[in-house]
């Protein structure tokens, strides 16, 4: 009996003793009185543990009580769905925004592409004019004292008298000035018109020239002059 109560009995001895207890009430009574004596003895010799032990225990078991433990599964489930739904909405919004950004970007790129294709077509057309026509004569116009780095080219069709100008390198003029192209024919300057610097065009078509020994470009007041008045930038013979 003592070893049973004090936890010293083996599993087999315990089962045996429990069997006896259920059969003999006096044995159960004896066990009970020994347990009571043991408890009384222990209570009389109680020692106070450290003050913070109780709070530590309650911290550790906090929230593990029955009433609380029954709920979490259901709550967690709804929370999970809520979070999942929220995540979906955020992802959808992000995706829409991203799509819109891509759409706008695509539109800009498409515009740029169209512009570039148009430029390329016009350049190809210009080159065709020069390459396929055996009557074209070329005059390279070199920079003069006013602007030694300047350089431009004139292509002249000797049969149709069409004149095409390529501005390889000319400084951007002031807003109240314009470049003017001249043909030198029989020693006299003939006006072939004013032109603006257009980057997207390779060749600028000027006025027709019936005949020429050379070409030159001067910087004139806006709209041009009847005879050259401003500084001559480039000149070249055929």
């Amino acid at each position: 009996m003592e070893s049973y109560v004090l936890g010293l009995a083996s599993e087999e001895e315990r089962r045996e003793f429990e069997q006896f207890c259920s059969q003999y009430p006096e044995l159960l009574a004896a066990r009970n009185s020994f347990e009571l004596a043991l408890e009384k003895q222990a209570l009389e010799n109680a020692i106070a543990p450290a003050v913070d032990v109780k709070s530590k225990i309650f911290e550790q078991i906090a929230g593990t009580g029955k009433v609380v433990t029954m709920q979490p599964a259901a709550i967690k489930r709804t929370n999970w769905f809520k979070y999942a739904a929220a995540a979906c909405v955020i992802l959808l919004a992000g995706s829409l925004y991203y799509n819109l950004t891509l759409y706008n970007k695509n539109k800009v790129l498409q515009n740029n592409y169209d512009t570039n294709i148009a430029k390329l077509n016009s350049v190809e057309k210009d080159i065709e004019i020069l390459q396929q026509n055996p009557n074209i004569k070329m005059a390279s116009m070199k920079g003069l004292d006013a602007s030694p780095q300047s350089y431009a080219t004139v292509y002249w069709d000797t049969t149709s008298h069409d004149v095409y100008l390529m501005t390889n390198n000319l400084p951007i003029p002031a807003s109240d000035k314009q470049y003017q192209l001249w043909a030198i024919f029989n020693g006299q300057p003939v006006d072939l018109g004013v032109f603006d610097m257009k980057k997207e065009k390779l060749l600028i078509q000027a006025k027709n020239a019936q005949g020429a020994e050379a070409f030159a470009i001067t910087l004139e007041k806006k709209g041009g002059s009847l005879t050259p008045e401003g500084t001559m930038y480039v000149m070249g013979k055929l």
């Binding site: 043991l38 209570l43 010799n45 020692i47 450290a50």
Partner: protein, 164 residues
């Protein structure tokens, strides 16, 4: 109410029995700080296992007492505890089961009762109850036949009953 895991009832249980259980823990685990940690674990285990308590097999206090004793013995036998004791000077707590005059038994609680036992019986009960050795281990350690160990412990426990 306690088996429904009612925290208020558990608080009441602690207030009434923590001292008695701490006395038991303290008689096995002599280091005060460690004894407090063990007591904390004991009550957390009581809380967790309360549903497995069966009143037909004994009083609640007996059930708690055995949890406290087992936890204390586990602590004493753990490597960490033995290491922590190594650096302490040899003193009153040296466990040397072979010596009859041996471990100066702390004069508290059950151990106080134990001092009333005859020397040889006292050692056997001390090793069996307070240190958790099996009868076979005691037989080997003290070089006493197993049958003798069992008989002596039985007679010691019977004597104990009359003393309590």
């Amino acid at each position: 109410m306690l088996q429904q895991r009612n925290e208020k009832a558990f608080g009441y249980l602690y207030d009434n029995y923590s001292g008695a259980l701490y006395g038991i823990v303290n008689s096995i685990v002599t280091d005060k700080e460690i004894a407090n940690d063990v007591l904390q674990n004991v009550f957390v285990n009581i809380w967790r296992k309360i549903e497995s308590y069966d009143s037909s097999k004994g009083r609640l206090f007996t059930w708690m007492l055995n949890i406290a004793r087992n936890a204390s013995i586990d602590e004493v036998r753990s490597k960490g505890f033995r290491d922590s004791q190594k650096n302490q000077s040899l003193g009153e707590n040296v466990n040397f089961p072979g010596a009859v005059t041996g471990p100066a038994i702390d004069d508290v609680g059950l151990k106080k009762v134990l001092t009333k036992l005859k020397g040889e019986l006292r050692v056997l009960v001390d090793m069996s109850y307070f240190q958790g050795f099996t009868h076979e281990e005691i037989s080997r350690a003290l070089n006493i036949p197993l049958g003798t160990v069992k008989t002596r412990i039985r007679s010691a426990l019977i004597q104990l009953r009359t003393m309590i």
